[in-house]
Every structure is written in structure tokens, then in C-alpha cells.
Symmetry: C2
Subunit: 433 residues, 2 copies
């Protein structure tokens, strides 16, 4: 038995033991984790200093900044654990209840998923985040962080494990995998790991999706669109399309393509191009936009631009015949992440929102709102472009499934079949299990 | 481009077009399908006669019985389509609504999944069933039935397609794949097919799970348990455990293993063995049960028995020290499908229901109740032992996902960050989109 299989089996055993714990137990453990992080601040910082030192000269300064922990970041981690503790218990909620017959009551109750595998790159903040979310939702977790953060991750893991097990959580609920070989093995453990959550670049996510039978939650690309319709308030459109591109261009919910209704293109495009030019945004435009924007510095777009996530101060711009073509473009070239329409026409907005097949579809606001915190989910596991189970920004609910609990008083199916069969009542009731 | 890719692309295009249709449109198409089935009765029966004739001498009489359609079966199919039409619209329901800020309203709304691939064995009844469920939930579908029913499936497909497209559904929403090679290709179309639903034996389901990156909904095994606790009403226990085994032993929700608390084993086992013997059930028992059942014809169980789905009049029986060992056995050997406890002790029942990690956990009733119709789901797509998305008996809800719709009035994220940031309200509201 390899080390990873052993870890996964321990995690699975701990998952079953976790079912005996209630929300209070788990919240106390989250408090203990917060305390442990603060108390072990110097140990964690010392481990992190080793990683930072090893990275110097090998990693870019941006990556080193992501890797580096400061005292305040540790306070932030502790605060995060306490915030998660303060959220509503996602487990054991009665989602539906049905009276099947007198004395035969069916409850659909939220339940943890099992063993979660989380594979992420550099940022060590992810360790306490994911650990808190998994613990809150009653799941076990196996984590594999970036190799450049190996000392930091190990220190964080040890603090979290000791604090939570000290507070009564089952031994082994949190596990740390370390090598690339460990990841390869994890991907094969479809009997032991219930869900994989990759957090990182497109290559990591695609690699994982391509090499496992375990369900994967995440998104590999964010090709988001704004469509400015003929009935748009053009000033509002400029404001929204500027925010959606420049407020934080490196993230998945920033727009990559701007679609403009030909009816207002002549008036709108110069206004927009002005704003983009002032913010240093490079514009790659189709032939129609090119003619309209003759006074501006723009490049010609190629077919490839409609499929590209720039994650940068670059935008592709296309003039379309109207909402129909806009919808078709978004469904054909988008990544089903987040798209917005700017229009004063409610009917056009509803059509766009109904027909665009994306996790988030918006009207008269910036795509940058697509985020677990902004959506009020309390905590975010990630953003999913998969349609199965969890879609869009995913909070604690995405880390739960449900089970059916049926309370009877000796009922057998035999009595409900045949010519003198008892009839089902099938009445929705308000009871909680 | 192969024929299957072309079919999948047509189905995908139809899926986008389907978003323009409302519940009324889809229900009218379901009525048209019901009418079409009745009107084309003789065509369908003639096609079926070809399949039955070809099967004679090649298939068992049980399989031929499953393959063979009679006039009443066609009426049943038509009735099924009308029943599905009468169910509540699963699409466009507002599941949650949140006021993020004044004039910035977030709606979580149920939405179809996309293109469903359904792969099933012999029974042609599945064609109109799955077609009705997919249409009702706004999905496109590609179906592949058993090769022994090729003529019947083709006739049913044609009737359903013509009737629904005649009633305004987008051309291509239903597709028929026919060969084993087609299936192999379908499994590779993870950009075009969103969900696979295999309906058939363990081998089919395992083959599909092992050979695709597309999410698969289904169950490959039903190793279900009954645990008779020390505080059980023993007469009730006999009645429930008899029903759970013999009422229909060939199905997935029948029990395969009976666990008996050692505290009542001496009294209970002879009562139970008497009932099983009278119903012709073969008993494979552990050493403790063997000693107690010395007066009965029983076999000794081996380790393999605890992992076996007999789907037959055979049961394995094990004496356990109490509820703790029962839970451990179920979680270790079961297939997380359906398990029941018989006890008069509410605390013991709650513990069993909370700690057993199965899709359905029951108290004082037969595992045979685990079924979409009995659970009041209206229609059943199948039973899922996966934990991701849909679990247990799956109705129309399992064929939907959700999307977030955000209605704004020009909001940009820039205003919600920094030292003078606007604050989010995050108030749950009762509005519907």
C-alpha cells in the first residue's frame, strides 16, 4: 500500500467518524484552528522564510509575493476560520419532507460528500481556507499544494491537524500529499476520493480533468462577454464595460470580448474606445468596428481572439446585428462562465438571460460581481463552469450532497402493490428530521 | 466529421434553440408524442415483431418478454408522456433570491443541463420514457438502445421526433445512435455531451464510467442491508426483512445482507429463517448464526458473500455486536444505495441514519420503498449511488442544473472596493425572476 492510499483510507475512516460530530463540535474545532494559527505564528513564518529563500532567483517577484506570508496574513487566516465557524451549518438541513403514507415520512437531508482532494498552486493561504470549508461541511480532505510552498504547507497542515484533533475531530480527517507522484496516485483513487477541486491555472485543471474518473469541480477558463444592446444607456454601458475589463483584468470574471449592437455602434464605440484607451486597454476589433474606430489605435481581431482569455488589459470587440447574434456568439465562443447585457429593454434582457447558457448571466452590471463573497455565499470554494452539482461561485453548499431518510412503522412494499394496494399520499410537509 | 459528432452538434444546437420554448410549448409537444404513439401503433408493433422474430432462439424467453411490445404497452407509453406533461415545470424555478444592494438582485434559477446521452439495454419502453423526461426538462438527448431492439427503437424514435418537431420543438433535439462504435464515440464527446445516463447491468455501467470524462449518473450495484437491532419489534422485523428480500429480489433496492444484533439473535434468527425458508430463500450465514440455526438448511457465508449482489432469492446473514458494528459493516461492504434499521429505540435509529453513508437510509420499513414513484418524485430517471449532483431515486430535478441571474442598474465592482466602498446588503428576498 502506497503512502497516498494509506492517507486516503485514513481520511475515509475519519469521514465516517466525523458523522458522529455535530455542528458545535466542528465549530469549536474551527476556533481551535484559529487559535493554533495565531499561537504558532513564528513557526509558520519561519517555515515560510525557508520557502521564500529557496524561491529567490528561481521564481518571479510576483510569485514570491504570493508565496510570502506576513504576520497580518496569519491573522487573516485565523479570522477566516472564525468566519467559517460563524456561518450556518450546511449539514443536516431538511431540504424537503414528504408524507408517503400515514406513519411513513421521507426526509431529504443535506449531508457531507466524503473525502475531498484539493490540488492547488503556490498560495499557501489556500491550506487554511480549504481546511476550514471542508471541516465546516463535515468532509475529510487531502491537500496537495505547490512544491515551492512545501515548508509552509507542512507547517500549516501540522497546526491545523493538531488544533482540530486536539478539539476532538477524528484523527486523519486532514491529510497532506506532497509530490507530483502523489497527485498522479490521487487521481486514480476513485473508490476513496469523492471529489477533486483543482485551484490553479488552465493547465493544472485540464491535466486533472484529463487524468481521473473522480468528479472534478472547477473552471479552466473564463471567457466572459458584455453585450451592449441598441436600447442601452450608453453612459452606463461605458461605465460597466470599463469596470468589467479594467477593475482587475487578471481574474476569470473579467470580460475578454465586447459585443456591440450595430444600431448604436457608431455612437457607442468611440465613447468606449476613448475610455479603454485612457486605461491602457489594447483593442482587437472586427472589420466593422475597425471602420468606425478609424481615429483610434486598434488592432484587427482574428478568429482566435474570440476564443482567447487574455487575463490582461486587452479586449476583443465585435459588432453584431442584434441580441440574437450576440447570444449565438456567447454560446459558441464563451466558456459558460459569466456574461452581461446592457440594455434598457426588459424583453431583450430576459431573452439574453434565458438563452445564454452560462453559470452567471447579468443585466446592467459588471461581470466582476460573479464571486462567492459578492453573491453573499459567505465563503467560496471556487467558481465552477461545470453544470453538474455546483455551478458558478460555489459556497459550502457545493461541498454537500443529500441523503433520503425514511421513517416508517413497519411498512412493506407488498402492501402497496396489486389489486388491493394501499395508495400513497405524497403530501409535502414542513417537518424537519 | 463522423455521424455521431454531427448528431451531437445538432442536439447541441437544438438545446440552445430549446431555451426559447416555454413549459407550455414543451407540454404540448409531450401531448403530441402521446398522440403520435397511439396513432402509429401498428407501425411500432410491426417493427417490434421484426426484432422479436430475430431474437427467437437467440435470446432467453425472459429477455424476449422484455423486448416484446403489445398494444397495451403502447398505451402505457402514451400515458407516461401525458403524466410527465402534467408534472410541475422543473425549469425556470427561482430557487433563491438575494438583494446584493439596492437595485442589484441575484436570482438562482433552475435551468436545463444540455445534451444528455442515454445508453440502455433491451427494453424499448425506455425510449419514450427518457425522451419525455429530457423534453420536459428542456434538454436534448442522444439515445442508444440495445441492438436486439433496433427496429423498435428506430420506429419509436421516428414517431417521437416527428410528433415533437411537428409541435414546434427544435429540429434535432432527439437523436438516435445505433452501433457499439457510436457509443465509443459518444463517450469521447465531452465538449458536446453534458451528462451520460447508463441504464442496464453492472458491466454496462462500469464500462461507461471507465471510458469517459463526461459525468455519469447511475448506479452499478445495489448491496443493501437490513439491521435488526436489540430494541426491534421482532414481528415487524420479520415482516420488513421478508419484504425487502422476496417482494422483488431481482432489483437493486432488495436487501442482500441481513445484520442481526447478538442480543436478540437467538430469538429472532429462527423466526426469520422460518419465513425465508418458506419463501425459498437460500441463507448463507456467519459462524454465530450457523450455531443458532442448527435446525435449518443454511450454508456458511464466506467473505465474498458480504460483497455480493445476488439479485436472487439468496441472503447473507451476519450476527453483529450492536449498532456500531452494523454501521461499520454497511459502510465497508455496502454500495451506499439503501439500508434500513429495525428498532424501537429512536436514539439508535438516529445514529444509524446519521452515520450510514448511503443515498437512502430507512427506519422500520422496507428498502424496496427506495424508488422515484414511491418517493413521490413523479417520474424516475434512475437511481444514483453517486454523491455528486443527484443521489438516490432521481426525478426531473436531476436533469436540471441552475444559473445565477443578476439584475442591476449600472453597478460596477469598483464602487464596492477600497476605503470608501459601498457595503453589500445580502438580504434573502422572496422575489421570483
Amino acid at each position: 500500500m502506497t503512502a497516498v492510499i494509506k492517507k486516503a483510507e485514513e481520511a475515509r475512516k475519519a469521514f465516517f467518524a466525523m458523522a458522529k460530530k455535530n455542528a458545535k463540535d466542528r465549530d469549536s474545532a474551527l476556533s481551535a484552528i484559529a487559535g493554533g494559527l495565531v499561537k504558532n505564528r513564528s513557526v509558520i513564518l519561519k517555515a515560510n522564510a525557508l520557502d521564500v529563500k529557496a524561491a529567490e532567483g528561481r521564481l518571479s517577484s510576483a510569485l514570491i509575493a504570493r508565496l510570502k506570508l506576513e504576520s497580518e496574513k496569519i491573522d487573516g487566516m485565523a479570522r477566516y476560520a472564525l468566519t467559517v465557524a460563524s456561518l450556518e451549518d450546511p449539514v443536516g438541513k431538511t431540504l424537503e419532507a414528504t408524507e408517503l403514507d400515514r406513519g411513513l415520512l421521507l426526509y431529504k437531508v443535506s449531508a457531507p460528500i466524503g473525502v475531498i482532494g484539493c490540488i492547488f498552486e503556490s498560495r499557501p493561504d489556500v491550506v487554511p481556507q480549504i481546511a476550514s470549508l471542508c471541516l465546516k461541511s463535515g468532509n475529510s480532505v487531502i491537500m496537495k499544494g505547490g512544491s515551492e510552498a512545501v515548508n509552509t504547507n507542512r507547517a500549516l497542515y501540522k497546526v491545523i491537524r493538531d488544533a482540530s484533533e486536539g478539539a476532538g475531530m477524528p484523527a486523519g480527517w486532514i491529510q497532506l500529499a506532497e509530490s507530483r507522484k502523489d497527485v498522479e496516485e490521487m487521481l486514480r483513487l476513485d473508490g476513496l476520493i469523492d471529489l477533486l477541486i483543482p485551484r490553479g491555472g488552465k493547465n493544472l485543471v485540464e491535466y486533472i480533468k484529463d487524468n481521473t474518473k473522480i468528479p472534478v469541480m472547477g473552471h479552466s477558463e473564463g471567457i466572459c462577454h458584455a453585450y451592449v444592446d441598441r436600447d442601452a444607456d450608453l453612459k452606463m454601458a461605458v461605465k460597466v464595460c470599463l469596470d468589467a475589463k479594467v477593475q482587475y483584468p487578471a481574474v476569470c470574471n473579467a470580460i475578454e470580448t465586447l459585443l456591440v449592437d450595430e444600431k448604436i455602434a457608431k455612437e457607442f464605440l468611440p465613447m468606449m474606445a476613448d475610455a479603454y484607451a485612457q486605461s491602457g486597454v489594447e483593442m482587437r476589433v472586427d472589420a466593422k468596428a475597425y471602420r468606425i474606430l478609424s481615429g483610434f489605435v486598434v488592432k484587427k481581431a482574428t478568429e482566435k481572439d474570440w476564443r482567447t482569455e487574455y487575463n490582461d488589459l486587452i479586449i476583443s470587440i465585435k459588432v453584431v446585428a442584434g441580441v440574437k447574434e450576440a447570444i449565438e456568439h456567447v454560446n459558441a465562443y464563451g466558456s459558460h462562465h459569466t456574461d452581461t447585457i446592457i440594455t434598457g429593454n426588459k424583453k431583450t434582457a430576459r431573452r439574453f438571460m434565458q438563452e445564454v447558457d452560462s453559470a452567471s448571466v447579468m443585466h446592467n452590471c459588471s461581470t466582476r460581481f460573479a464571486d462567492g463573497y459578492r453573491y453573499g455565499l459567505g465563503a467560496e470554494v471556487g467558481i465552477s463552469t461545470g453544470k453538474y452539482h455546483a455551478r458558478g461561485p460555489v459556497g459550502l453548499q457545493g461541498l454537500t450532497t443529500y441523503k433520503y431518510l425514511l421513517e416508517g412503522s413497519g411498512q412493506v412494499v407488498k402492501d402497496y402493490v396489486g389489486p388491493r394496494a394501499r395508495k400513497y399520499i405524497h403530501r409535502k410537509i414542513q417537518d424537519h428530521w
